[in-house]
Amino acid sequence: MQAVQQKAPPMAQTQTMNIIQAVNDALKIQMRKDPRVLVMGEDVGKFGGVFRATQGLYQEFGPNRAIDTPLSEGGIIGTAIGMAIYGLRPVAEIQFADYIFPAFDQLVNEAAKYRYRSGGQYPCPLIVRTPYGGGIRGGHYHSQSPEAYFIHTPGLKVVCPATPYDAKGLLLAAMRQDDPVIFFEPKRMYRAAKGEVPTGDYEVPLEQAKVTREGKHVTLIAWGAMWHTVSEFAETLAKDGISAEVLDLRTLWPVDLTTILKSVEKTGRAVIVHEAPRTCGFGAELSALIHERAMLKLEAPVQRVTGFDTPFPYSLEHDYMPSVSRMRAAVDRTLNY
């Protein structure tokens, strides 16, 4: 399934990794190269993070570069902003995306606006890594997908890899640019998604989507964990003679609209899939952009298959998460419009 998009640079040495390992590898590589880089967050030091993404960093780089913090997201992001404007390169971890909200003011009113409001005098190259999404029986508070809040905030970049290869390459690229980045990691796929990843240094450029499957009848747009579900779904569609093109957005904002429009103009149909609630989710923006710019090429309105507009439930998360059957209904709506 991941063959299409896991093409490593020719000759590069590779290794099978999951997303956790890929993230860990990216951090190690960059921390070795750049002494300004440090990781910080709850349980990220000695313990190596509750998902073990920062494992070994404390041992290799010591307590001043793999920092266990107090239980305070506002403190983590607030102090990380200070570090970033002072010239360090903090990579802060928020243990679950659901817990990013105590730091919301520091992110949207401060980090996002620092470069701008200082007239360019104080860039704020802060990375916030955080696991997002459902499917792990986490209920309300270990399942949310809050990307839209940050996409709506000018000054932030929002990235969300789906595969180990992209996780490593995008994180390396993010750590080497100068704007604040919210880096959402698909926790459901942390260990489930495996692939060949170059052991050395490489970057996956930000702001570039990837066509991971070519097709002609409908464009399926996804990212993160949902890209995996959508990719499998595309296979089943193929069996029914429906040829779906699959896009993995990778960087959510600024989004690679060129690649999206090219695909949708070709297929004439689009279905966007995400876990976050539908209303004012990123799917709404994508739908609006596509309609605004490609209406005449559309055979049917762009469809959205998303989490429902309720808090994330526990026992019934299988009913809540975008399902293949709902995706199928959406594709059918575009085909039969």
Binding site: D43, K46, G48, S72, G139, F308, D309
Partner: protein, 399 residues
Amino acid sequence: MASKARKATPKTAASVAKNAAVATERDRTPLCLVNPDGSVVKGAKLPVIPDADLKRLFEVMLQNREIDERMLTVQRQGRIGFYMQSRGEEGSILGAAYATTKADWLFLCYRELASLLWRGMTLQTFANQLFGNRQDLVKGRQMPCHYTDRAIGLVSISSPVSTQIPQAAGVGWAMKLKGEENVSLCFMGEGGTAEGDFHCGMNFAAVYKANVVFVCRNNGWAISTPAEVQSASETFAMKARAYGMPGVLVDGGDIFAMIAATREAVERARKGEGPTLIEARTYRFSAHSSSDDPSVYRDEKADQAKFAHMDPLPRLRNFLKHRELWSQEWEQSVVTKIQDQLATAIKLAETMDLPQTETVFEDVYKELPWHLREEKNEALRHKQKPVHGVVNATSSAKG
């Protein structure tokens, strides 16, 4: 704290260092009335507690421990998704709960099952929540251990750490505004004191002299993070001073000390004299949760031995022995009984159906708006089969 001109002799040397926040011996010494061996500390005045209550408190401690062990096993068998133990902390939790009544609202962190057992939450209610079934009072919407039970004064438990603190202050404030003598009892972990919400809640409570008692369970750990990373202050109780609020440090292994301290705080709150912060010094004998593996970050064996004296259960047992209120048979019968009752409750909870799909859309608002009506219909058209056995061993942080 307005800038009033004060008449005192001016200080003439900055002496910042001397002004440092040094704790006094009194600050550092936890209140302790009963020694680990069950003997009364010399000079201590024990709170008045009827024998029947003492025995009942011991029973609940035993029950809590049995439940803990059993439910962890059930979790390990993949039958429930998650569990959080509270071994060794039952004493302080029960002590605080004992000093309140059901009319006093209860805000929990998440590790305070004993307070609910004390207040009479039924085992069936408990088990239904863990299995998230159709009879679960929170309709299967939250992870295990996130109970709500209005009948016993329990407010909804939330995973985000410390959000309950300003809310509890608000409830205590509302009680005061309404002229009631009820109080709001609010638990938190020592890790939770680092959140901004701790500050907001404590500050509002003190400014408005809200009817609230805060209990900080300092069990030494927040997942893998030791308490000394949470604050540079020598005790958590001392944080009360920043708010002009009394702070008391208590030996959390001593249920008598907890009862005495909480009673005094509750009384003050009932009289409208404002909030108190109690730090219960304990040890988290168990893992953080069923997702955690503490052997990665602490020396399990050494620590269990080192902190054994802080376990409230043998201490209360020893005390009861001294008072001739304990027998082996009685303890055994309590344990056997709870095992049986629990088995029955689990069986029923486990065989009960999950909530119906349409419940996903209820209670978002009081009434169902158009978009949720539509979404409900979509969900019903595309009902999914529950995914069983999805393991969440990827994280040790849930809860």
